[in-house]
């Protein structure tokens, strides 16, 4: 985060940015993330969360990750509860509005076991956008005057040299790696996504490298037929993993709605006993299964197909 402009550029040039195949397994992709790195997480709340990749990072016993996301849901619980992450940078952190306040988030933050830096949602967007643009900050007009800004020594206020308006300058956030799940991409990492984009495009361009998970890998020819649908260019991408239902139990637009019954079960389990409940959940659902497919099986094929029916039919209306 405190890299100089030239450091940020150098990190990009150190990568092989030619058009080459980069399809790997979840485990191989997890090995690309180092302990202590800053990880940007795509999607928002219950939507297009790169859950399979978060699951793989926890299984790989990552430590001391700093994670950043627009709005954080149960994947934040997992990251805190597993010990993979001790620092979330986000605008909102719970399991989802319908389940009330996350007791896991409360336990870790109130006990001082982990840090939750709060920014406004637009500020998160501006920080990724500044990072994507290669500028050290962007100016904005919210957060001013509130206590949210008083908790954030990272910002600066300025008087606009053009208008005299008071503006808030928020610093660029350039994660070491971004985890992003898309509906389709090619083997090189040219990614196309449907529905809500959230902050993902700025996040992808702000990060030093992107790990893509995708519902399916399509041919480069398919991408090239509609290049104006490509949202992330291959040269930003370090690895591509094909993971059907890679957001479960969260949703993926046009693919599946959230697995609400599983989320109900999950929240009641971990909110009852944030540490013990989470340990039980992680043992059973994250460390236990041999593969992501086995994890999906644990969620239940009937539940999965029901959620998929809802996801596929969302635009039928």
């Amino acid at each position: 985060m405190s890299d100089s402009y030239l450091d940020l550029r150098r990190k990009l040039t150190e990568r092989d940015r030619s058009l080459h195949e980069k399809v790997v397994s979840l485990e191989q992709a997890a090995a690309l993330v180092k302990d202590g790195e800053t990880v940007g997480i795509g999607g928002s709340t219950l939507s297009r969360t790169p859950m399979a990749m978060v699951w793989a990072l926890i299984r790989a016993r990552k430590k001391r990750l700093t994670c950043a996301r627009g709005i954080t849901s149960s994947e934040g619980d997992w990251l805190f509860g597993s010990g993979a992450c001790d620092h979330m940078i986000t605008s909102w952190f719970s399991q989802g509005i319908v389940w009330g306040v996350s007791k896991v988030m409360r336990h870790y933050t109130e006990q001082g076991l982990a840090r939750f830096d709060e920014w406004s949602h637009m500020a998160m967007g501006m920080r990724f956008r500044a990072g994507a643009m290669g500028v050290p900050f962007l100016p904005m007009r919210s957060m001013l005057g509130s206590d949210v800004v008083r908790q954030r020594p990272e910002v600066r206020e300025m008087e606009c040299p053009f208008t005299g308006d008071k503006l808030l300058l928020v610093p660029a956030l350039n994660p070491d790696v971004a985890l992003i799940h898309v509906q389709r991409c090619d083997a090189y990492g040219n990614a196309q996504m449907d529905g809500l984009q959230f902050l993902d495009i700025d996040l992808a361009m702000a990060a030093t490298r992107v790990i893509l998970t995708t519902e399916r890998i399509v041919s480069n020819g398919q991408i090239r037929r509609v290049p104006d649908q490509t949202k992330i260019p291959f040269f930003a991408v370090e690895a591509v993993v094909e993971v059907p239902f890679g957001c479960a139990p969260h949703e993926c637009s046009g693919v599946n709605e959230p697995l609400f019954k599983h989320m109900d079960y999950y929240t009641s389990l971990v909110n009852k006993e944030p540490v013990k409940g989470m340990a039980e959940y992680l043992d059973r659902y994250v460390y236990g299964p041999k593969s992501w497919t086995e994890y999906l099986n644990l969620l239940g094929l009937d539940h999965l197909l029901e959620a998929a029916k809802g996801g596929r039919s969302v635009s039928n209306a």
Binding site: S47, V101, H121, M122, S142, M143, E157, F198, I201
Partner: protein, 257 residues
């Protein structure tokens, strides 16, 4: 008035009263729950040309009865929308000035309309860490606000523990002095009445009371002194049509129980 209209929940009352504050042609940035119900009700009654925006990145969706989205960041929010765009860009519409009304719920509010959704107790050692602002701070910083919330003494406090979403901050010109040039609290809608803010002091005042509610009752449920406006009106009870619309919209009573 029919017997159906005679019975309604506090949440239904909130939704109806809020919906009546909306005007046709407005662009409303709405949260899920009461705000979305109220905005959709307004579209179905007196505001056919009302446009809803969602924080996830949606302009002008159609809300299907029985398929309320669980958050403003979910694919159900995009159904038959006119446009889906990046979250950052929909939030920037607030900053650009395209949004007439920001409309959200509140957990804790103070006499200047500041909202807290971050910390109960001292932020350095909080009793409770709440989920935080989301887009709330941006909406409250950049648009005229309507807030719908239950009227309880612990929620209506003299000074919030933490200003997550700014109302008029410390009153007077303090909001503008902080650099927040536009927007500000317009109305707070509760199950007891409708509240506005004094033009000078920016303190909350009573604008209207719901049928059968007294000023004393409001004051008893408020943690600071509430002045009545010059003419405190009495609101008209929810109509059968309004209640039926709401009940069709939310048949499982997720938000109106």
């Amino acid at each position: 008035m029919s017997s159906t209209a005679a019975h309604y929940t506090a949440s239904e009352l909130l939704a109806v009263m809020s919906s009546r504050l909306l005007k046709d042609g407005q662009i409303v940035f709405a949260g899920v729950g009461i705000p979305l119900l109220a905005a959709t009700l307004a579209q179905g009654t007196h505001c056919p040309g009302l446009t809803i925006l969602f924080e996830g990145g949606v302009i002008g969706p159609v809300i299907e009865p029985g398929k309320l989205p669980p958050s403003t960041n979910e694919q159900r929010c995009t159904v038959r929308a006119n446009m889906v765009l990046a979250s950052t860009d929909v939030l920037l519409l607030l900053q650009r000035g395209y949004v007439d009304i920001g409309f959200m719920g509140g957990a804790q509010i103070d006499q200047y309309g500041n909202l807290n959704s971050s910390f109960i107790g001292d932020p350095a050692h909080p009793k409770t860490r709440l989920p935080g602002t989301g887009g709330g701070n941006d909406i409250a910083s950049l648009a005229q606000m309507i807030v719908a919330m239950k009227h309880e003494k612990r929620r209506f406090v003299e000074e919030v523990d933490f200003v997550t979403s700014p109302g008029f901050l410390r009153g007077g010109t303090s909001r503008r002095d902080s650099g927040l040039l536009a927007g500000g609290m317009y109305r707070v809608v509760t199950d007891l009445g409708i509240f506005g803010f004094d033009e000078q002091t920016r303190r909350m005042k009573i604008v209207a009371l719901h049928d059968g509610v007294s000023i004393e009752q409001v004051q008893d449920n408020t943690g600071f002194k509430l002045e009545p406006a010059r003419d405190v009106e009495v609101t008209k009870r929810p109509t059968e049509r309004e209640l039926e619309f709401l009940r069709k919209l939310d048949p499982e009573r997720l938000y109106t129980a």
